[in-house]
Amino acid sequence: MSRIQTTFDKLQQHNRRALIPFFTAGDPSPAMTVPLLHAMVAAGADVIELGVPFSDPMADGPTIQRASERSLKQGTSLRGVLDMVAEFRLQDNSTPIVLMGYGNPIEAMGWEVFARRCAEVGVDGVLTVDFPPEESHEAFEHLQRHGIDPIFLLAPTTLEARIEQVAKLARGYVYYVSLKGVTGSGNLDLSAIEQKLPQLRKHIKLPIGVGFGIRDAATARAVAKLCDGVVVGSRIVQQIEDSTEATVIDNVSALIKELRLAVDQA
């Protein structure tokens, strides 16, 4: 059984929701990424989405854009991110890691090489923001062959026929983008999420994570009531930006603990 499935199964047995933090690999520095991963797990993260920085992050708001720029300036590459996951796995063989980013760095490496390397280092899922199911045939084939879960996005604008289509391809969990906008936007509409979820559940048998626009404990708690996992990205990246190298671990741990508490209260 995959780490993702094991994790969600265990949570479901205890009627708990997953806390899924996101941050950009290589931010604030490449050396801090593995320590941050361990600190997040210790503070209560269930699954971690590790961002692979890209020069042109079209789906991201300013906070994650700046994180990508900081990371790339320090020479982070997809190859480097895979090495970070390998290092993380030396001490943690149970927390699922999902790589999240844009398709071009993977295209440049080649999907087969990438998928094989993911399996070697212990990556569990891959979410490629700008590769919808229509363009994911090649990616899907290689990821499947190496047992890596392709994670797909669904959006408020997604029509029912597409939900069905995504349901057939998706593995691991499905990431529901809670609002029309880029990451870190502020216009979260809880009632809209609540209305959309039954339609998603009708076709999606996998756990559903909800992200985009979850800014604090209160929104995390409210969203956790509705779904199986809460994804928090820009808020964490903002915390990293606001910290120094000396304080970043403590500050991020404190934030994760706060979010954990909120999610568990749902």
Binding site: F54, S55, D56, P57, M58, A59, G61, P62, Q65, E69, L72, S77, L78, R79, Y102, G103, N104, P105, I106, E107, A108, M109, V129, D130, F131, P132, E134, E135, F152, L153, L154, A155, P156, T157, T158, L159, R162, V177, K180, G181, V182, S185
Partner: protein
């Protein structure tokens, strides 16, 4: 028979719809609506009417005889897109998309712009049809194309400076996409070039084909036959595909696309993905040849011309190159600048720096050809917007 894109929006391995999920239904709706109206007699009639009475089409073809005589070889003819309303070919596409936007009930339009010509065209049609207009423009481009920024403002558009990345056209695209994903229900994205997610490469090409369709009628009227070659500059490549497409099946006509060679391909400071043998990659919704590093990060490009300063190129140009049907070459900044000055002095026409790349390539090959050969160059835009740049390069402060 040449018939691209296929039903999934691919030109061979190129093209596609590489967009985030939130926008997929929007491009799907756009495709459906475009296919519905493309052959609709009323839509076609309105488009033709606007092109004739608002843009001033057909644009003439002009024999640049003085310049040809000086070069001493092939005769150079110019397709005068610079004489269109707003001063470039961009208006053809902007009108087509605005008419579609109206039929789709969208009251707000957004656009990206590099040199500002597409931004001006979009601001123009927004004023004409009473729509709200926001144009994203790289902060670097705002500096080098300031007259166009003011033109857009006069036309009622909001111009948003983009400070991220290289602060040029690609970053303006990123920001326009971010706006679209946020305002997808109210907003129509008037994309300026024959690239991006399907159906844009096809739709922009179709709207720009008026250029080549007219030329195919005009050339026989002028010289009794088609030209030996058609030449156009290629950034994303909309003016080029508009001229080339109607000639694709006429293999007696050579097709030449001219990319921005910047400081020279070998320098690494250029905007010529096809000529520099870039790898295939994915950016802004489509799979194309893309200037990138070994890790798949997009590299900052350089061109004297803001409109060509882009790391990618439309998917149909990628295919035409691979099929061998079109040839792609690069012209450096200094060669383009020379052609700019020559056309001013010998023909009394101030060309856009973008178009000057195509002119420079014609000037390069004409002397080696006999006098009865004919080169048709797309003079895609006028150069008034570039006078500050040219003056600065000549050491003059205006």
């Amino acid at each position: 028979m040449y018939n691209y894109p296929d039903s999934t929006g691919h030109f061979g391995q190129f093209g596609g719809i590489y967009m985030a999920e939130t926008l997929i239904p929007a491009v799907e709706e756009l495709r459906t609506q475009y296919l519905r109206y493309r052959d609709d007699p009323e839509f076609k009639a309105e488009f033709a009417y606007e092109l004739k009475h608002y843009v001033g089409r057909p644009s003439p073809i002009y024999h640049a005889k003085n310049w040809s005589d000086r070069l001493g070889g092939a005769q150079i003819y110019l397709k005068r897109e610079d004489l269109n309303h707003t001063g470039a070919h961009k208006i053809n596409n902007a009108i087509g998309q605005a008419l579609l936007a109206r039929r789709m009930g969208k009251k707000r339009v957004i656009a990206e712009t590099g040199a500002g010509m597409h931004g001006v065209a979009t601001a123009t049609v927004a004023a004409r049809y009473g729509m709200e207009c926001v144009v994203y423009m790289g902060a670097e481009d705002i500096q080098r194309q300031s007259p166009n920024v003011y033109r857009m403002k006069l036309l009622g558009a909001t111009v948003v400076p983009v400070e991220s990345g290289s602060r040029t056209l690609k970053d303006a695209c990123n920001e326009a996409i971010r706006d679209w994903v946020t305002n997808v229900e109210s907003t129509f994205y008037i994309f300026g070039t024959a690239a991006g997610p399907h159906p844009y490469p096809m739709m922009v090409r179709d709207f720009q084909c008026v250029i080549g369709n007219e030329a195919k009628i005009q050339m026989p009227e002028m010289i009794g036959r088609q030209p030996d070659a058609v030449i156009a500059c290629v950034g994303g490549g909309s003016n080029a595909i508009g001229l080339f497409y109607p000639y694709i099946e006429d293999t007696s006509v050579q097709i030449i696309g001219v990319e921005a060679g910047g400081h020279g391909i070998a320098s690494g400071h250029h905007a010529a993905p096809l000529t520099s043998n870039s790898k295939v990659g994915v950016l802004h919704g489509n799979k194309v040849y893309l200037i990138q590093d070994e890790n798949g990060q997009i590299i900052e490009t350089h061109s004297i011309s803001a409109g060509l300063d882009y790391p990618g190129v439309g998917p149909e140009h990628c295919l035409l190159r691979d099929l061998g049907r079109a040839q792609y070459v690069a012209i450096n900044d200094d060669e383009a600048l020379q052609a700019f000055h020559d056309l001013c002095r010998f023909e009394g026409i101030i060309p856009a720096l973008e178009s000057s790349h195509a002119l420079a390539h014609a000037a390069k090959i004409a002397p080696g050809m006999s006098r009865d050969k004919v080169l048709l160059v797309n003079l895609s835009g006028r150069g008034d917007k570039d006078i500050n740049t040219v003056a600065r390069l000549s050491g003059i402060t205006l």
